[in-house]
Symmetry: C2
Subunit: 510 residues, 2 copies
């Protein structure tokens, strides 16, 4: 354990409730054993403490570590495993064709890339993939322990509508009998029983510190309301209350999910979940692209978080979430890259910029997110969604030392006028490549863009070796099955149309 | 003069009219004295020609040089000269507050950044800025000659509505008298007479090779229909016909421009320009965000080009252009960064990716631009808009040698499966930083990411020195004037509302 003095030309301490950015110029933060002991002007902090090491400079900006509030631990880009961008519903079946990737290596590679991007805390939304549920989960958690990033791990489960938004038995009955049999076999292999799920949850919760350890939270992760029965959701909610933990799920990512809820319940998912008592401040939902105004009201009232995914929503043709409306209603909006960032490079500052730009609605006086609102998304709001509010999100006395250093050299070329609003410059121009040092819980995990904990080259080599192997017979059957199921899935959604659409933002007109 | 053999694991030769991508694996192109002599399989080309130099490798992809079909030669990012993103109408007045930047250095820095991004041809949309019109223009053109990039230079002029979309005399009369007097003085200083404009145009056209020189085209550049009288536009059109050159202008960038045309003419700008005989295949328009369906039909019929600017349209809160509709109607859509790329880094591959993603409309079976359509935007379609169709846009015998090499190392980490669609991988993951070699007209201008022609460090140093100087008294008056005009401009647009908006794409619904 050790102490560090971190110096910066500018230091973003926090964004207050009034969206006021608290910035200290020529500032410093002092941490000891992972705890922030003091922040202030460099001269004062320097005189006050004796540090084992001093990092940073007049060419750096200090920021709280960034929070990526929704992702799947996918390190190998989808484009490289044969899952090109497409509508979610078709992309999911295409993903079945992808080469299996070693879970530990994939997660570790993801962690490495996130750290390079200044992400110090991540929400891992676990999707059960392989027939070896427990083994898969333990590999992922091992990677997080080895990788050193702070993580909220939402243990995944789904128990219905595996292939389309319809009872899967009914859907399977509609398929040619042989295809249905093969699909049933595949689904049986990847299905987890509720008992298996709750037993593993209880074990993980206990083993990983009962949500009191500094770097790990165990959450419930029902994959989404279209994929989980009401009975399961209610049981999960009870368990979450009992363990005083959170729940993370997908919500209204696509228009088809919106239409499914209306068909199934005669009301929206959010209204339905509200009616069964599922909503609350410990619950966070990814996407929410197709939330109605009433849904947004309900989310705000319940204190639930929305984890917005601008890149992913474009790449998977989901749309653009009504984030300005959410912000206006007081929803806690966090930001996630969903392992689908627009340039496929896991650049969190770029993701934030895309978010800012997509919600620039045309017209003088029309709403855009403010700089403070944007910065909150990747700090305090993300901290709330990941259940780390007491530990991270701001640079202030008593918080854990998750701190990143942005090198100002590149963003200030050719000249940074001291009169300029530095946060505007960062939000306009900062990229992952500008982040040269990352500290998590007091430990420097990236120093001058070199990992100190992760052997990145080794991970890449191991992934390359594993991916260059041919498919196994079971893989080949899965690929064929996916290819044969696809036209039936396309056909299933053929008639699903929203009768009248009133968009939140109008970007042009015919 | 010399000859070069360029080798690549993959070579994109061209996208045919049917949007078919012609790709050669293990390919090569041979150029001599700036002309493409042959393309084909590496073994064959290698055996057939003896080259002075061989570049490229099995780790490279060969592409035709990219065309940035709309920009303003701005090298110093707007964020660094105090012009943060805002609605165009307010941004324009804010830009008045910006520090003046040396035109030669600014253009040269811009050229350097474009070359680093694989751009080999650029449309420079000139906006008259300083009171020294001719000197300003000559500085810019000198930079293009020194910088070595291929350029279509559209000489700028505007003669009305300088501050808002209304006769500026009328607008000035509505201001407090002293403010009006100061604004009149400012406008008098930057106003160019038509005679001055046409005389300079004739001189440039002649001096720069009467549009037959390989690397320079001189076009007319009326800044936009809201800023040019009908008389001026008609005279420009006649001149363009006489010189057989092109016209490049802004068009329907914002909803206020759409509303202005309806107020002024009782019809859309495009309809009006069609009625006065202005449209045609030599005409290109930037933006076109707010074009109606009928406008798109007229543009398609006339053969005019649209230079789409996805980043700029987001950053300046203009909106999202109906590009899918344009493509469906057969409009020649090119792509431009408008000196406003989303990450402020002039990354043309990223711009193309943003374009692809913004036009992913939600819903199965809904239109997205195809890979072929996207690649055409930055090659042949851009070549048409810049009047270089006969010279560039494809890698085929007889074309000029504008060729870029993409290093596949980064985009194929951890593993590039040979079964994958390589163009999908490039479009999903390629960035400016992957481009390591750029050839323009047979000359290597970037080699292993180092400029051979431009002394980039010197330009940056000179820009820094010039920008760190304080404002001159005349600058201070201009800044104050802009600040005082701003509230009047906000007030002017207060009641401008589109009565009913029917958007092309619906990204979500309330």
């Amino acid at each position: 354990m050790s102490s560090t003095l971190i110096k910066g030309k500018y230091m973003l301490c926090q964004v207050s409730d009034q969206d006021t950015i608290e910035l200290i110029s020529d500032g410093a933060v002092f941490q000891k054993n992972g705890e922030i002991i003091d922040v202030g002007k460099y001269d004062i902090i320097k005189a006050r403490y004796s540090a084992d090491e001093e990092i940073g400079s007049d060419q750096h900006m200090i920021l709280p570590g960034l929070v990526n509030a929704h992702q799947h631990g996918r390190g190998v880009p989808y484009a490289l495993i044969g899952t090109p961008d497409d509508n979610l519903e078709l992309w999911l079946i295409k993903r079945m064709e992808g080469k299996p990737v070693d879970q530990y290596l994939d997660t570790m590679y993801c962690i490495a890339r996130l750290i390079e991007s200044g992400v110090t805390t991540v929400m891992h939304c676990h999707i059960p993939k392989s027939p070896h549920y427990e083994e898969e989960v333990m590999s992922i958690l091992k990677a997080y322990q080895d990788g050193g990033i702070r993580v909220a791990f939402a243990l995944g489960i789904r128990n219905q509508n595996y292939l389309v938004y319809q009872d899967h038995h009914k859907f399977l009955d509609s398929l040619p009998p042989l295809l249905a049999t093969r699909a049933r076999q595949y689904l049986a292999d990847i299905t987890i029983s509720e008992e298996e799920y709750f037993t593993l949850f209880a074990r993980l919760y206990k083993e990983y510190g009962a949500n009191t350890s500094p770097k790990m939270r165990i959450l419930h992760g029902p994959v989404g309301p279209q994929w989980c029965s009401d009975e399961l959701l209610i049981r999960i909610k009870q368990s979450a209350d009992e363990y005083q933990t959170g729940i993370h799920a997908h919500m209204l990512e696509t228009i088809y999910q919106k239409l499914y809820a209306l068909k199934r319940f005669g009301k929206t998912f959010v209204k339905h979940l509200n009616d069964i008592g599922f909503l609350g401040p410990q619950v966070s939902f990814a996407h929410c692209v197709w939330a109605t105004e009433n849904d947004i009201e309900l989310l705000a009232k319940s204190g639930a978080s929305v984890c917005h995914n601008p890149s992913s929503n474009l790449r998977l043709k989901s749309g653009i979430a009504p984030v300005n409306r959410m912000l206006d209603r007081g929803v806690n909006v966090a930001l996630g890259m969903d392992s689908q960032s627009i340039n496929d490079d896991e650049d969190m500052l770029q993701e934030l910029r895309l978010c800012a730009n997509l919600h620039h609605t045309p017209g003088l006086g029309k709403r855009s997110p403010t700089a403070g609102q944007l910065l909150k998304m990747v700090t305090v709001n993300g901290a709330k969604a990941t259940l780390f509010s007491n530990q991270i999100g701001t640079l202030e006395k008593g918080k854990r030392a998750d701190i990143i250093l942005v090198n100002l050299k590149s963003i200030s070329e050719p000249y940074l006028d001291p009169e300029l609003d530095i946060m505007n410059v960062l939000l306009s121009r900062g990229k992952a490549s500008d982040i040269d040092t990352v500290m998590i819980d007091g430990e420097i995990v990236l120093r001058n863009r070199k990992h100190t904990r992760i052997n990145r080259d080794k991970i890449v080599t191991q992934l390359r070796e594993s991916l260059s192997r041919g498919l196994q017979p079971s893989d080949i059957e899965r690929v064929r099955l996916a290819q044969e199921l696809r036209p039936h899935i396309v056909k299933f959604y053929e008639d699903w149309q929203e009768p009248v659409a009133r968009p939140y933002y109008v970007y042009n007109s015919a």
